[in-house]
Symmetry: C2
Subunit: 398 residues, 2 copies
């Protein structure tokens, strides 16, 4: 029988306790024995909740209890999450976390530490909520060279973009609505500027390629600059604009980017709407695959955390098999990255734009603006041409 | 270092050898050591192929070679696949198979045998080709009560249905085209009558619920009865018709069916086109998730087989954790199963049909036929009403 401790009784932490209790018998069948929570570490007391009798304010209660073999970390941030997690692993306890900041910053080190202590450090819930993408990379796509990971990894922005496209609503209005619904935070920067999906793609590519991918080295652009013209153009072309976090390998070089992209209807990511997430993974044998599900939410994320807890209890040694070396993977600059762009220009500049961008056709949009699709060109050449012509907006084409 | 043997050098077997060779270094990183094929068992000799020097015609060469610790079975059928696999497991070798017939018929017994021999019996490639759905059920969704598994599990029929919908083509014409392209077999019965997806959903539900699901006990209907009116109606309603293999749990009772279903545009399965497969899995914590990818194809399926080989070489003990008891899961009859139906009737019967089916609206289709959506009703009541009215065709609504 395993005893677990939960550090942080917020949305996800309370979800973890709920799943442990609700699916107790099933978890016994999966894990081979019951797994019960013995402690909940939090600053508050939560009277009247299922955590009431489990609350402790002292991390040492957990660290020094030999009965606790699995610790769940759902505090978020790195302080005190990082020292607490380290202490637990050093005390010989497996740790399962949903904390992307912790994993992005200290994942490599904590993984190594767990290996030396012969325990698990698992983090399925740090990327894509309930979608088992980390486990897919570690256990399923193990016979494939991964050529690309491209994901809709942020539910808040996908909710906003879906509403903007379907209802023709303006960004600021939809953001306000999402904030009122609790889907977007009052300070939405981490989501709308793309920092959240950037951390997630850094974790996924670190796992897929076995080396540290520094999230600061990934070019990141959020959704705040998307214009109604872009949306109108995307709709007329039969597709959608999605915030995509992407990592690609080509001839031994690595390319990464977080940016809004136009995806056409025949791309599986196009149909991923609302707060859902999806991760497209391309391997050199398995070809194109996609994992889809809820990228956030209390129970969905808790499901992934508790799956980690079950695997830790099973003693499957998953952590031992994860290769994540301390060396840093070099990411190429984006200047030479080649693609087409969806460009909006004032209609009196169409001829000049067609020339500069090698565009064959144009589509008239509202408000005296015209949309063009450029030929495939490098980011550098595109920027030079845009500066020369003077454009209204542009979206990269996937 | 592991040595593997491949039994059956057809499309998938040759793909397995190709992946082992092409991704040899990566597989070493994943598995901890090189995995090389030492034998290929086949009746033929395959001169001039990579298998040439590995060919044996005698199963005992494999069984009696202590250096071979992993055997791949890609022969198909159950004879001689079943006795050969049994022999290999009895000799203490792990077996990885892509053979759905073998797994559906003998999976439970072979799994038990592998457990007693402390080796693996893995069958990721038997359902959904390169999609890691078995591993997801065994390793990822382990904290969830699975409420539903519904999949597009047959690429041939999905290719046909996609073409019928998009091009308005007739079933017989598209089937012929698919046969000419090698996507459908000359004898297409197993695909178009739904037997292939039926075996796959039987395997998936056996794994998910831990008991034998007998594929003969699943109500199965193929795609041969779909009319152009059904397709026209589906298109007008904004959706698609998909052959869906479905297994559901509700209040401790189990329901299963393979049948064409209308899925509306907001259903993620609607966008799964061509030869692709997708499996929707709903858990009581994780909510709605979907796994998508190529359901067939040489390299895609081989990727899944070799992933099993890597996991067998890792010695992760995956087989030990799979619960699949010999007792049979009772599946309810379909009579009391409730849903809406998309019905086509001769236009002079619209009033009578509206009355009989509790349908509010109707849509005029070509050729003097009208489409209706019934109220939610039991299969039994629907059949009685259909017999009374006399209908042209009907499609279940998902």
């Amino acid at each position: 029988m395993s005893k677990a401790a939960i550090m942080g009784y917020g949305t996800i932490g309370s979800g973890v306790l709920k799943v442990l209790m609700m699916n107790r018998e099933l978890i016994k069948r999966s894990a081979g024995d019951y797994i019960d929570a013995k402690y909940v570490l939090d600053l508050k007391d939560f009277p009247g909740t299922p955590a009431e009798k489990l609350i402790t304010h002292n991390i040492d209660d957990i660290v020094n209890d030999p009965e606790v073999d699995i610790v769940v970390e759902t505090m978020g941030g790195t302080n005190p999450a990082y020292p607490f997690v380290k202490k637990c692993i050093e005390a010989g306890k497996s740790v399962c976390t949903s904390n992307k900041e912790l994993v992005e910053k200290h994942g490599q080190e904590l993984l190594e530490l767990a290996k030396t202590k012969n325990v698990d450090f698992l983090f399925e819930a740090s990327c894509g909520g309930g979608i088992p993408v980390i486990r897919a990379l570690n256990c399923a796509y193990v016979a494939d060279e991964i050529e690309e990971i491209s994901g809709i990894l942020n539910g808040t922005t996908n909710f906003i973009l879906t509403k903007m496209l379907k209802e023709g609503a303006a960004y600021a209005d939809v953001l306000r609505e999402a904030q009122d619904m609790g889907i977007a935070e009052r300070n939405p920067e981490a989501d709308v500027e793309g920092h959240d999906p950037c951390r997630k793609i850094a974790i996924l590519s670190s796992v897929a390629y076995g080396k540290n991918v520094n999230f600061e080295s990934i070019y990141t652009e959020g959704i705040t600059g998307i214009t109604p013209y872009d949306m109108e153009f995307a709709k007329k072309r039969g597709g959608a604009i999605k915030l995509i976090a992407s990592f690609r390998e080509k001839e031994g070089k690595y390319y990464a980017m977080v940016s809004p992209f136009f995806v056409s209807e025949d791309n599986a990511l196009c149909a991923v709407n609302g707060a859902y997430n999806a991760i497209y993974i391309k391997g050199n044998a398995v070809g194109s695959t996609m994992l889809y599900g809820s990228g956030a939410g209390m129970m969905e994320t808790a499901s992934a955390v508790v799956a980690d807890v079950v695997n830790a209890a099973r003693g499957t040694g998953e952590t031992k098999r994860v290769v994540w070396l301390p060396e840093t993977l070099k990411i190429e600059g984006i200047d030479e990255d080649r693609r087409s762009f969806m460009v909006c220009v004032q209609s009196d500049k169409v001829a000049q734009a067609k020339e500069a961008f090698g565009a064959a056709e144009s589509v008239e949009l509202s408000g005296g603006v015209t949309g063009l699709i450029t030929k495939e060109m490098s980011e550098k050449d595109f920027k030079a041409a845009s500066d020369k012509v003077g454009i209204v907006s542009r979206i990269r084409v996937k």
